[in-house]
């Protein structure tokens, strides 16, 4: 058969990292299962240690796996097509993350627009309100639950607003860093990326402060404070975890740049981290609107 020469698609040989990763996930899942069960039953156990060991193993796996990938990439084994695979893989991964957040946003919107009004007797639930929850009035944020737990709502001004500005700015600086990389302006690249990381760290610290404020006696906004507290902490919490992850990615990129990695043409890893960062920002915008403002 006569074919013109195609770029060959790199198929890595055997790798032991995936199985290490699978064992690590097993330790995490089994450890976490034991851990929360033991907490609930108020007994001590080895679950927590197993969980921590699993996390450590995952980190080991990620580092090992990615350094393989980086070496292969640096030694020019990857074709354009391979790069394309990574890009598409990353975008669909981000899409799956979007759907994960969608579940929690769905819960928030359901509670606000359906279950809380229903508990107050809206729609076909007149008797629910009248017979089961006569004392209850629907409000959002739900500062008094049907069973009478009270709490306060987190305002959108102050910390959350500052955080919004921080994150939005960091998205812009991340973009500038990317532009600088494409222009091969390394000093600017380092400066913009460094600034992005600083903004991310400040955001995370402020988020911790905000939680401390929520858990203060003054606000009494707990994870257990009814559906408002539930959605507030779950959404901001998962978002915060993603910011942390994104931030770590950016820091890794920073060090790789210091080591002289990436070229204007070939910088998938940087691109992926920056996509992830933009995604985290967009989620925050939704959060800010639906959790804080509305």
């Amino acid at each position: 058969m006569t074919t013109k020469k195609y770029e060959s698609y790199y198929v890595p040989a055997q790798s032991h990292w995936p199985i290490v990763g699978a064992v690590a996930l097993f330790m995490i899942a089994f450890g976490a299962g034991n851990y929360v069960t033991d907490i609930k039953n108020d007994v001590g156990g080895y679950g927590g240690y197993l969980l921590l060991a699993g996390i450590a193993l995952v980190i080991y796996m990620v580092v090992g796996w990615f350094s393989n990938v980086i070496n292969e990439s640096m030694s020019g084994k990857y074709s354009h097509q391979m790069d394309q695979s990574f890009r598409q893989g990353m975008s669909w991964f981000i899409f799956s993350e979007v759907m994960f957040f969608a579940a929690f946003f769905g819960a928030l919107l359901y509670a606000r627009t359906l279950s809380i009004p229903w508990l107050d007797g809206e729609g076909n639930n007149a008797m629910t309100g009248a017979v089961l929850w006569p004392e209850f009035t629907a409000t959002w944020p739900l500062i008094k639950t049907p069973d009478g737990t009270e709490t306060t709502a987190m305002g959108w001004y102050g910390l959350p607003l500052i955080n919004t500005i921080l994150l939005l700015t960091s998205s812009v600086t991340a973009h500038f860093a990317h532009v600088a990389l494409e222009k091969n302006n390394r000093p600017q690249l380092k400066a913009w990326l460094g600034l992005t990381i600083v903004l991310a760290l400040v955001f995370l610290s402020l988020q911790v402060l905000e939680y401390a404020h929520g858990y203060s006696d003054e606000m009494q906004l707990y994870l257990t404070s009814g559906i408002y507290g539930n959605t507030f902490y779950m959404l901001t919490g998962f978002h915060g975890l993603h910011v942390l992850l994104g931030c770590i990615m950016l820091i890794v990129m920073f060090f790789r740049i210091l080591k002289g990695h990436f070229t204007p043409e070939n910088h998938f890893a940087f691109q992926a981290a920056s996509w992830y960062w933009h995604f985290v920002d967009v989620v925050w915008v939704f959060l800010f609107v639906f959790v804080y403002i509305l």
Partner: protein
Amino acid sequence: MTTETVNESLDESHDDEHHDHKMTGIKRWLYTTNHKDIGTLYLWFSFIMFLTGGALAMVIRMELFQPGLQIVEPDFFNQLTTVHGLIMVFGAIMPAFTGFANWLIPMMIGAPDMALPRMNNWSFWILPFAFAILIGSFFMESGAPNFGWTFYAPLSTTYSNGSTAFFVFAVHIMGISSIMGAINIVVTIMNLRAPGMTYMKMPLFVWTFFITAYLLIAVMPVLAGVVTMVLTDTYFGTSFFDAAGGGDPVMFQHIFWFFGHPEVYIMILPAFGIVSTIIPAFSRKQLFGYTSMVYATASIAFLSFIVWAHHMFTTGMPLAGELFFMYATMLIAVPTGVKVFNWVATMWRGSMTFEVPMLFSIAFVILFTIGGFSGLMLALTPVDFQYHDTYFVVAHFHYVLVTGSLFSIYAGAYYWLPKWTGHMYNDSLAKWHFWCSLISVNLLFFPMHFLGLAGMPRRIPDYALQFADFNKWVSIGGFAFGLSQLIFLAVVIKCIKGGDKAPAKPWDGAEGLEWTVASPAPYHTFSTPPKID
């Protein structure tokens, strides 16, 4: 069976330098990045899970053989039902299809392997661990999950038996596995098609897996979200599904079924792909209406996102909601009908032979359609008030899942076994497998319709006397069907060990790139992509 000579030029003679030789022993399987190895792993795993889930079903059927509590406690019965459902759905059917995808998609589109081979290995190896946790919970003090595969809150939260955390984390890692597997399929298809293989030239098989993978990426994270809420409701004091805190148990069902309904199509679209490959091959006639098949598949996938609440007609939804979900659900019959009609049109004026893959495919078309009909009846809200949570529903979904998904898997397995193993399967044993399965499966599941209509609820360990006769028959059918599946095990083992040497293309009507390479398929295929015109 007539054969053709192999297109020698595509045979594996020019190995690329980076293709290491395969390791041997256990390490080959643990470390492999080869799509064929990983496909094999998936297929064996799924078959083992099928036997495990089936064994649980056998205990269920023994208990239900006659009225009275015979061999298990009611609570253990619920554990059996739950784990049976979970294993069959997540452990048997889904991994089997991923196995097919791994083995065949790269060969069908002329790719050297899956796009992300290491991730591919990871996706697989997570599964045995996830199921070890799930099945292991049978041996824990708290027992296995006992709240149904649908784990409705608050039975799975406040009122659960304490193994919820294990269930939740097992589902989490299963979900990670599925998402990674799906991303791999999507990227492979988008990026690794041989030059000239446009989207509308892809085999329909590839299309169905492509669309299924999108469904997976869209809904598995939602499942992860809802199990997370179950976890926090159970262990961390949240009240997503508790009215006292402003939540709603029905909200659980909305989120769950937003995942759950697309999930059932995840288990049938690949089946459509397999059957659409086999029927043309043995009718010796091109698939009728390829384009409309692609669009029908896409419409089913789209509709699957807006019908979820048909599982919830009795939850007290507002009238407008009930009407919307009834109409949307009924609509799915249209694209599905298009598929059925296209299959029939493919057979029409063909030149048919009835090898075992074809037998299973024909059985699929008929029995899946029967399952579809009962689905349509369930979609009619007022009547669903009578059918809901009875054995009528159990009959419906076993028809679409067992004589649907599972039969398509058998069809596909027989069809590609020669390519996988290099040997022909033992035809008479395979025919025994088919006919025994066909008869017993109907004895097993058809009377369930009557039981449901007569009013037998599902998920009960004991029942009123008027249900006794049919249950006896159902159980006998069940044992017979279970034993028949052991024939398949025998066929596969014999086929791996030996048998007539399979030519590159054992089926004269078969089409597709996978038949242009030798049987068994060489370890690496298409290091340089073939040209499609």
